[in-house]
Every structure is written in structure tokens, then in C-alpha cells.
């Protein structure tokens, strides 16, 4: 798939990958052998009918391809960009054993983008079933909430999504940067969900403006919690509150949601030093580092305590980051932050690590090398160690069971919590994971909620 040149794209917020041309899409679609076993569908957490949509692309029936895709997936433009297809549908592709799997994700993106450009030539969607008269409150408008809302609306239930921020989309808006997921695409897909009759209420912080029990007592028949994992983790080392040290959530929210990269046209500022260190090795760390480059930093480091092999980020994103000139400091762990005496961070004391025996996660445990302390001179730090669920909902809802990590306990297959009429799915249950796994959870919960509502 064509991409902007690394040197050029490292200076702008436009999308890195520019997408297939019609010829490329047709050629890639013709590689699919339409095998009867359809292993790719099993590999998809929302069970998109992959061979069918690819067949439609091959035959040039683009409107059909859109319909097939959207039948199962309300957010194809998002998934086509940020799903880790290499470990899901494409990992199951029959062609994988011979050569490369069919590029399902890229085709999905191509179809979604075709729809955006050709809205007018799309036939009207299937009519919605008659209203059931049942009301569902969905808390959070991220991938889990949007998916659950769309599926429930398609069953005729009246769905209201409550979103705490002033824009819908959750992590798709505040977290994932414009150059990986243009915000216009997210808003288009939210508009699609709204077109199914879903109401989106912004600025509503559930737990503050209303509690879950108040919603249930005010006429909602069921509640789905899809509030994600919004609480940032810090290192807990001395000096971490110095100016210039950001959580990845703050760094990305200022950049993406509030558009700090367009300051002062947009009002939200961000202080970007010449040398930026991003702590962590996941997709969020890659996003934070690549934002730093685009915001004008001269040197950007990823500081990770394990080695390259253990990086939890998608390989594609690591490669993108390396190409763009991000410097990786593996086996390095910060122990203390230094400041200039006026409160601004100037350096980071680190230790070198080595890998020992595998830990509970199966990855080799990093161990401090004795006497390896050294100082990195930096002006900005982004802490991307991961997130845990915001405790607000759990703290204000009686009868909801949570783990010691703050995640809500819910049935793996149905999303049902121990609390009557309440389901949950996505990062609030699993801790920080992927967009598509949250969507899968939203879908499973919607099916179970529908079953429950129909039985009433």
C-alpha cells in the first residue's frame, strides 16, 4: 500500500498510508481463492463475511462490498486502519502457508473509503425493524460502545450513548493520531451509527451527571459499560511531576482531540522540547513518539525496559517509527527525573536492564544491571506505560464486581456483569487492549442484551 515518504510524513499530520488505487484493490481481491472453510471469518472478532466482501470488490460491486462489511462492522474505516489483521483474520488466511495472506485490512479500508467518496451511489440501507420499545443506555462512545449501540439499534431497540467528552469516539478521537486514523473518518462512522437511530449525548460523565442506578430507574431496560481504560499509569519514580512530563493520555489528548498541533489556531497548547523521551513499547508509545516528531521535536527516543523482540506494539507501527527516525533505547529503565530548579524536567536517570527468566506474561523479565546508571538529557517525557479503567463508574455503582486492577468482572462470552441489567465490554473488562477486541466484546454483549430484552 502506498505511503507518504518517511522524511516528508514525519513533518505532517496527514495520513501515513494513502490507500489502494482501484487497480491495486482489484488485483489484491483477485488473490482471494474463496476457500470454502473461510478461516478468516473465524479470525475476525466481529465475524465480518470477509470472502463475500472481497468477492464483491473483485467483481467491481462496491456498494455490495460496503453492505456486506457494514452488516457486521459499523466501523470499517477505523478497523481497516488500526486492526492488527496480521494476528487475526490474515493470520488465518489459507494463502499464509503458500506466500503472503490476502491483505484483508487494506481491502476493508479501501471499501470503507470508497463509500465515503461515493455516498450518493449507495442504495438505502436495510430498513430497521419496528421499535421494540426497549431502551438501552450505552456508556462510552469508543469502539465497544459504538459497536454495541449499532447492533442493538439494528434490532429495533432505542439506544442512547453517553459520552463524557465533548466529541464522540473515545480513544479513536483522543488517542489514535490523525496520521493513523483521520478524525473525519471516525466522525463519519459515528454518523452512520447515529443514522441507525442511536442518540449520542455528549458532556455526560456517568457516575457524576447520572449514576448507573439512576439510569436504570429512569426507564432504561439495560446498560452497557464501554468506558475503556482511561486512567494513566505513571512510573512512580522521584521527580515525575516536573513540568514537561506528560502521561501519554494527556500528550495524545492535547494533540489529537484538542488539536494542539494546530496551536495557536486551536487554543490548546503543548510544550514540545527538542529532545523527547517516550517511556514504553506499545502502540501508544509509538503514537506518542511519532506525534512528538511531527510536533517539531529534534530527537525522539522510545525508552523501553525490554528488548526489541518483546515490544508489544504492532510490527508495522514499530517499522513506521524507525523509518521516521525515532531512536530506540532498549533495555533501559528510568529511575529518576532531574529538573532545572524551576520545575522543568532536564534529564532522566536510567539504568540498563538485562533479560532474565520469562515472567507471568511469558516475556523475559527485565533485571537491573548493577552499576549501570546513566543520565539522558531530555526536555520532554511522555509516560506510555499503559492505562487502567477509570474508577468512577465502579466507585458509584453498587453491586459491580471489580478486580484488583480495577477492571469490571464480566462473562467472557456475554459481557454480563454480576449486577442485574448491566453488561460490560472492552478495556473496562480486559484492561488496555485493541480497538477490535473491544468491538468484539461490544458485539457479544449486544447479542446477549438483545436476547435478554426479547425475553422480557
Amino acid at each position: 500500500m502506498p505511503r507518504q515518504d518517511a522524511a516528508v510524513r514525519a513533518k505532517n499530520f496527514k495520513e501515513v498510508a494513502t490507500g489502494y488505487t482501484p487497480e491495486m484493490a482489484a488485483e489484491e481481491a483477485s488473490r482471494c481463492i474463496q476457500c470454502p472453510k473461510r478461516p478468516c471469518v473465524e479470525g475476525c472478532p466481529v465475524n465480518v463475511d470477509i470472502p463475500e466482501f472481497i468477492k464483491a470488490v473483485r467483481e467491481g460491486k462496491m456498494a455490495d462490498a460496503v453492505t456486506v462489511l457494514k452488516n457486521k462492522n459499523a466501523l470499517p474505516g477505523v478497523c481497516g486502519r488500526v486492526c492488527p489483521q496480521e494476528s487475526q483474520c490474515e493470520a488465518k488466511c489459507t494463502l499464509l502457508k503458500q506466500k503472503a495472506p490476502v491483505a484483508i485490512g487494506r481491502l476493508e479500508r479501501y471499501v470503507a473509503d470508497w463509500e465515503t467518496k461515493n455516498k450518493a451511489s449507495m442504495p438505502p440501507g436495510a430498513p430497521l425493524p419496528p421499535p421494540t420499545g426497549k431502551k438501552v443506555a450505552v456508556i462510552g462512545s469508543g469502539p465497544a460502545g459504538l459497536t454495541a449501540a449499532a447492533d442493538l439499534a439494528k434490532k429495533g431497540h432505542r439506544v442512547t450513548i453517553f459520552e463524557a467528552l465533548h466529541v464522540g469516539g473515545g480513544v479513536l478521537m483522543y488517542g489514535i493520531p490523525e496520521f493513523r486514523l483521520p478524525k473525519e473518518i471516525v466522525q463519519n462512522e459515528i454518523n452512520f451509527v447515529k443514522s441507525l437511530g442511536v442518540e449520542l449525548v455528549l458532556d455526560a460523565v456517568i457516575g457524576k451527571t447520572d449514576t448507573i442506578d439512576e439510569l436504570l430507574n429512569s426507564g432504561y431496560d439495560a446498560v452497557f459499560l464501554g468506558t475503556g481504560a482511561g486512567l494513566p499509569m505513571f512510573l512512580g519514580v522521584p521527580g515525575e511531576n516536573a513540568n514537561g512530563i506528560y502521561s501519554a493520555n494527556e500528550w495524545l489528548t492535547r494533540t489529537n482531540l484538542m488539536k494542539a498541533y494546530l496551536f495557536p489556531t486551536y487554543d490548546t497548547p503543548l510544550h514540545v522540547g527538542k529532545k523527547v523521551a517516550v517511556i514504553g513499547g506499545g502502540n501508544v508509545a509509538m503514537d506518542g513518539a511519532r506525534c512528538a516528531l511531527r510536533l517539531g521535536a529534534e530527537e525522539v527516543y522510545i525508552v523501553y525496559r525490554r528488548s526489541e523482540a518483546e515490544l508489544p506494539a504492532r510490527r508495522e507501527e514499530v517499522e513506521n517509527a524507525m523509518e521516521e527516525g525515532i531512536i530506540f533505547k532498549f533495555l533501559t529503565n528510568p529511575t529518576r527525573f532531574l529538573d532545572d530548579g524551576k520545575g522543568w524536567v532536564t534529564g532522566m536517570e536510567c539504568v540498563e536492564m538485562e533479560l532474565g527468566e520469562p515472567d507471568a506474561s511469558g516475556r523475559r523479565r527485565p533485571i537491573v544491571k548493577k552499576g549501570s546508571e546513566f543520565v539522558m538529557n531530555i526536555n520532554t517525557v511522555v509516560v506510555a506505560l499503559g492505562t487502567t479503567p477509570n474508577p468512577l463508574i465502579a466507585a458509584t455503582t453498587d453491586g459491580l464486581n471489580t478486580t484488583s486492577h480495577g477492571t469490571v468482572i464480566a462473562d467472557e462470552h456475554t459481557g454480563k456483569t454480576v449486577k442485574d441489567k448491566v453488561w460490560a465490554g472492552g478495556d473496562i473488562v480486559t484492561g488496555a487492549a485493541t480497538v477490535i477486541s473491544a468491538m468484539g466484546a461490544g458485539k457479544r454483549a449486544a447479542a446477549d442484551i438483545d436476547k435478554y430484552l426479547t425475553s422480557l
Binding site: A164, L165, H166, Y174, L200, V201, L202, D203, A204, V205, K208, T209, D210, G230, L231, P232, F234, E240, N241, A242, N243, G244, Y246, S247, N249, E250, T253, R254, M258, K259, F263, P264, T265, Y266, D267, T268, P269, H271, K342, G343, W344, N390, P391, L392
Partner: protein, 282 residues
């Protein structure tokens, strides 16, 4: 944007300090003394936290008071009755803990008479004897004197330059009250950080519990970003969800002051850029 919050009344209380009465029933229904809202003027605006100065659940209204300090608040100051803003979220933060303590002192520095009002009223309603101190730089900047007097058993007004009331900083009458021998069970001090810091220093030798409402920079206001982290008793807290009220004697005031200065340069740039674009306002 679909949701607009209408300003039912916009008025300038004293130079550079404005009041907005918002139509915001969802917030008004739940708002308690000490809580705040996050306000965003329009699509390009920043999210700024402002303490709720008053709320009326029946009328569905919320009152906020703000001072012009930077580009955003200057722009807000131009809004008039009938205008709308894009986003208003709340009530956020933990309410001030209200109980019958006995005798309490409420100290309001500058425009902080606005956030102090609902707390003083709630304390009064809970049966406390409320002594209030209202301080400002000069006579011109004093507002809500009568309102605060109405919810207080006693009100002391001070100005830095002596143009009205007593010529003193708020800490002087505060110290005298503490020295007078009447048992003071609680001091609530809200105002600029420096004022809150010195109120804390004043009450500390007397061992009187002192609550301050901290005002660090925030973004989301719901515990998501950690921008508002403060150090209280050596522990990092998020002012938006763990506060904004904290034990004044435990607050790391230097850290708060440093973090509040994070965007001094950018704020200047935003102001200059705005004044260039809107020559008419410069």
C-alpha cells in the same frame, strides 16, 4: 456540534470579572458546593475548569464566574446574554465536605468569592457559625459583598490598598481570629495559589484544619490525563477527581505554582496571535 449551552445572563461584575448564568439542567440537578465544570467555547477552544458559583436545580441553571487572564477568558468575556457555548461538563470533582463543625472561617481572595459562596452557604445551612473574610486588591474589584454577608455571621472586608474595608491582606484578620481564643474548627481558603499558601501558613501553628480548592491546569477533568496532578502529603493526586479540595497543610505549593506556569510562553503567544487577528480588540 449538536449541543449548545445557552448563556441566559452574561454580566460584568467588576472590570475583567464576568458572570454567566447557563441553561444546564443536567448539571444543576447534581451540582454541590465545591464542584466544578469544564467549559469549551467552541470547536477550536480549550477545555477550562471553572468552579460552580451557584446552581438552581429547579430552574435548571448553573452560574460561573471567571476572570480574564488569557486569550480564552478574554474571548469568553466578549460573549453576551443569549450567546451559546459548545460544551459544558459537570458537575466534576468531589463536593466540599459539609457538616456542623462549630465555628468556621471562609476566606475568599479576589474573584474567589464566587467559589466560596456556595461553600459558605452550605456550611451556614449545616448550622455552623460562619465568619467570612473577603479580600481584594482594591475597592473596584469587590463584588458579592452583600451576598457573602447574607450567608455569614460576620464578614470582614480587606483591600490591599485600603481603598475599602480594612487595609490588610486576608491573612491578618485570619490570624487575629485564630488568636482571639474562639475555637475555630475549620478554615476554608480559596483564591490565588499564593494566597492559599499563606493562609495555610497562618493556620498551621494553630493546628486548625484548613481546606483549599486547588486550581491546577486541567484538560478532561475526569481523571483521564493527569495534567492536574498535585502532591498532597507526599502523594500524587489528580485534583480533578481526588479534589479539588485538599488539606492545605499537606499541599506542595511550590510544585503547584511551577505546574501552573507550564504554558506561560504559549499563553502569551496565543494572546498576541489573537490580538493581531482581532485588531479591534487590542
Amino acid at each position: 456540534m449538536t449541543k449548545l449551552y445557552k448563556i441566559l445572563t452574561a454580566k460584568t461584575l467588576v472590570p475583567n470579572i464576568h458572570l454567566f448564568l447557563f441553561d444546564a439542567p443536567r448539571i444543576a440537578r447534581k451540582a454541590k458546593a465545591g464542584q466544578f465544570v469544564v467549559l469549551t467555547k467552541d470547536e477550536k477552544g480549550e477545555r477550562i475548569p471553572l468552579t460552580i458559583a451557584d446552581s438552581d436545580a429547579k430552574a435548571g441553571t448553573v452560574t460561573i464566574v471567571f476572570m480574564e487572564v488569557g486569550k480564552t477568558t478574554r474571548e469568553l468575556g466578549l460573549l453576551k446574554t443569549g450567546d451559546s457555548i459548545m460544551s459544558l461538563t459537570g458537575p466534576l470533582g468531589l463536593p466540599t465536605h459539609i457538616e456542623n463543625y462549630g465555628t468556621v472561617v471562609c476566606v475568599a481572595g479576589g474573584f474567589a468569592v464566587a467559589p466560596v459562596m456556595p461553600i459558605a452557604r452550605a456550611l451556614k445551612q449545616a448550622g455552623n457559625k460562619v465568619i467570612s473574610i473577603l479580600g481584594a486588591r482594591n475597592k473596584e474589584l469587590i463584588f458579592w459583598e452583600d451576598e457573602l454577608r447574607n450567608v455569614s455571621d460576620k464578614l470582614i472586608v480587606t483591600t490591599d490598598d485600603g481603598s475599602y474595608g480594612r487595609k490588610a491582606l486576608v491573612t491578618e484578620p485570619l490570624k487575629e481570629i485564630l488568636e482571639n481564643g474562639e475555637k475555630i474548627s475549620l478554615v476554608v481558603a480559596i483564591g490565588p495559589s499564593i494566597m492559599m499558601k499563606f493562609c495555610a501558613k497562618t493556620t498551621q501553628p494553630f493546628g486548625v484544619k484548613t481546606i483549599v480548592s486547588l486550581n491546577p491546569i486541567m484538560v478532561d477533568g475526569t481523571g483521564m490525563c493527569g495534567c492536574c496532578r498535585v502532591s498532597v502529603g507526599g502523594q500524587t493526586k489528580f485534583a480533578c477527581v481526588d479534589g479539588p479540595d485538599f488539606d492545605a497543610h499537606q499541599v506542595d505549593w511550590d510544585l503547584l505554582a511551577a505546574r501552573q506556569r507550564t504554558y506561560v510562553e504559549e499563553e502569551k503567544q496565543a494572546m498576541e496571535n489573537w490580538q493581531c487577528q482581532c485588531g479591534k480588540h487590542s
